[in-house]
Symmetry: C2
Subunit: 353 residues, 2 copies
């Protein structure tokens, strides 16, 4: 059983629909965040807003090691990944609760650095830390963060809204976090690249920025039909949109944006930049689908604010598959570029495989 | 550094007051739950309500072992302890998010039982499970639950409201959970007691009930000035009220309610029922202070609903100390009962000592 089947096995048919309705639940388990009718403010009306809830756990030796991340970076990234889930709904994060289980090998000073990293991220994105729980742990450091956000009622962007003929877009370059992790695990390659390139790739892995401003722009545009954040690689995230929307999603390989740093480091390390993009994850950029006629206008709005939007594919009628349409591997078989595509696995970072 | 000092070291002066105010935070870190101006409903006004947030982590071999608790009980109790924090604010719990980190030795079926226990508690108390995160864990099972609740604006009961001459009350018998744990760890004593007594004590440890109805009654009465739930023993919880309210709290030993089951098992096992009451914890009853002239009337309201309220002491001017005023140890020294008291440690279940 993979992670998705397990969660379904554990949570299906456990609660009465009436209980969920009575507690104003609009969307429960299954998207980036839950949606609840309600509002945070001292004198607003709760009919104008909805609350967004999300939780993420990072476990030492599963999601991070203290050899590739400082404690401050672990803290920063733990909160950033949660804020990214709020971004993936088009919302604004407001509050966070921090639960940490601290093993004996982590000193009070290191735990302080972890908190400093969490607060750096919180203060950068205007999020109030309102509570938490601290326990000891027999072996591994475990950091669980819950974030509550808000969105204008009825405007949260789900995974399930992708439409036939939508354009597939992303808000940044994918794969850099995976390249950064590779570099951190192969320090001998460090001397073969410039300090700037090294710093850029490592920063992508250690201090990813949640795309909250990009998310707001997509939501306000009114033309973004589905949205997900890239925590598990483009293949997995596009697959979640395809499955939830009951469509097929086609990624056009030639359109995938690749940075100089990524292609140079991939060549040097004899790795596939495409694999990092499709299966690497932890980039925390956004992937979504938009009404294609609005792409140029939307891209201009992004550029005016110093942000990027890239077309990387399109949506077809289908049954939840993701296809890679490419050129680099077409020539090997001498087939027509127009019809050449291959189905790609919805694999990504699955904690149970 | 104890747990309290560490949390302060990690979280003090990390955020601007303006940021907290902008995000409608009324009470952040330091009470049973955080308070935020806002409301959950489809058409309410957020000025009438406040949101309550709380999070609690349970770690295998720290908070529980799979030899003294079934997986269903672990799940039930993990949620119950969170609901108890909402009760300790006088609120109503609405939503929960479940983060679990599952080690290899826990089977998919055992994880399902854990979830069944969580849902049993959720459905009993009308709480909607709206999201979660599931990861693997290298060693220990870790369960972190976040609960969001609601309370009428301005009426949440804090630890800091105890007043000079208040009466100290509790809503149930303390110490039974500790006695139950003792029995679970000494199965050889089982044959010396009745099956009913055994079941009662074990249930107190394994399936504690959060006192949500009692909390609502205390809040609605308008005469409850401070409130805490007993997760760490009466001494520690009374100490938190004393410290937060800048008063001294006096527990009168002769007034502490003790059940037949507790006194019988304490005698049999040669343990101190008083120690279990003061330092045992995990009873999830409530301890608070009320305007003493309303005690009789309030006790009657409790009894009419089949619930208990016990006077166990009083509040004096002071500096945050807890005193035990007693009789059993007075006779040993031949001193006058009227002036005899001893200061008791604010010890309880502290995860770092």
């Amino acid at each position: 059983m993979d992670e998705f089947s397990r969660i379904s096995y554990w949570t299906s048919n456990q609660q009465d629909e009436k209980l969920l309705k009575r507690n104003a639940v609009k969307v429960a388990i299954g998207d980036d965040a839950a949606i609840v009718a309600g509002a945070v403010s001292e004198d607003g009306s709760s009919k104008d807003f909805e609350l967004l809830y999300t939780v993420d756990t990072m476990v030492e030796d599963i999601h991070f090691t203290s050899t590739t991340m400082t404690y401050a970076q672990i803290g920063y990234k733990a909160l950033a990944s949660n804020l990214s889930d709020i971004a993936a709904m088009g919302g604004v994060p407001l509050h966070a609760l921090i639960a940490i289980s601290v093993p004996g090998h982590v000193s009070a000073q290191q735990a302080k650095q972890l908190y400093d990293g969490i607060y750096e991220c919180a203060n950068t994105f205007g999020v109030a830390i309102v509570g938490g729980d601290t326990t000891s742990s027999p072996h591994n450091l475990v950091v669980t963060i819950t974030v509550v956000g808000q969105v204008e009622a009825g405007t949260a962007i789900l995974r399930s809204g992708a439409k036939f003929r939508d354009m597939l877009v992303i808000t940044g370059v994918a794969g850099k976090s995976a390249a950064g992790l590779h570099l951190l695990m192969h320090p001998e390659l460090e001397q073969e690249i410039s300090p700037e390139l090294s710093a850029q790739l490592k920063r992508a892995h250690q201090l990813p920025k949640p795309h909250l401003a990009q998310a707001r722009l997509l939501r306000e545009s009114g033309v973004c039909h589905s949205l997900n954040d890239v925590s598990d690689g483009l293949a997995s995230e596009a697959g979640e949109i395809a499955l939830a929307s009951k469509v097929d999603v086609i990624i056009e390989e030639t359109k995938l944006p690749i940075s100089d740093s990524l292609s140079r480091y991939a060549a040097l390390s004899h790795c596939s930049a495409l694999d990092w993009m499709l299966y690497g994850g932890e980039d925390y950029i956004l992937i979504g689908t938009i009404a294609s006629q609005h792409y140029k206008e939307l891209k201009r709005s992004f550029q005016q604010l110093g942000m990027q939007l890239y077309e990387i594919g399109y949506v077809e009628a289908g049954t939840g598959e993701v296809w890679l349409e490419g050129s680099s591997w077409q020539s090997q078989h001498g087939q027509s570029p127009k019809t050449q595509r291959k189905r790609i696995e919805r694999k990504g970072y699955n904690h149970f495989t």
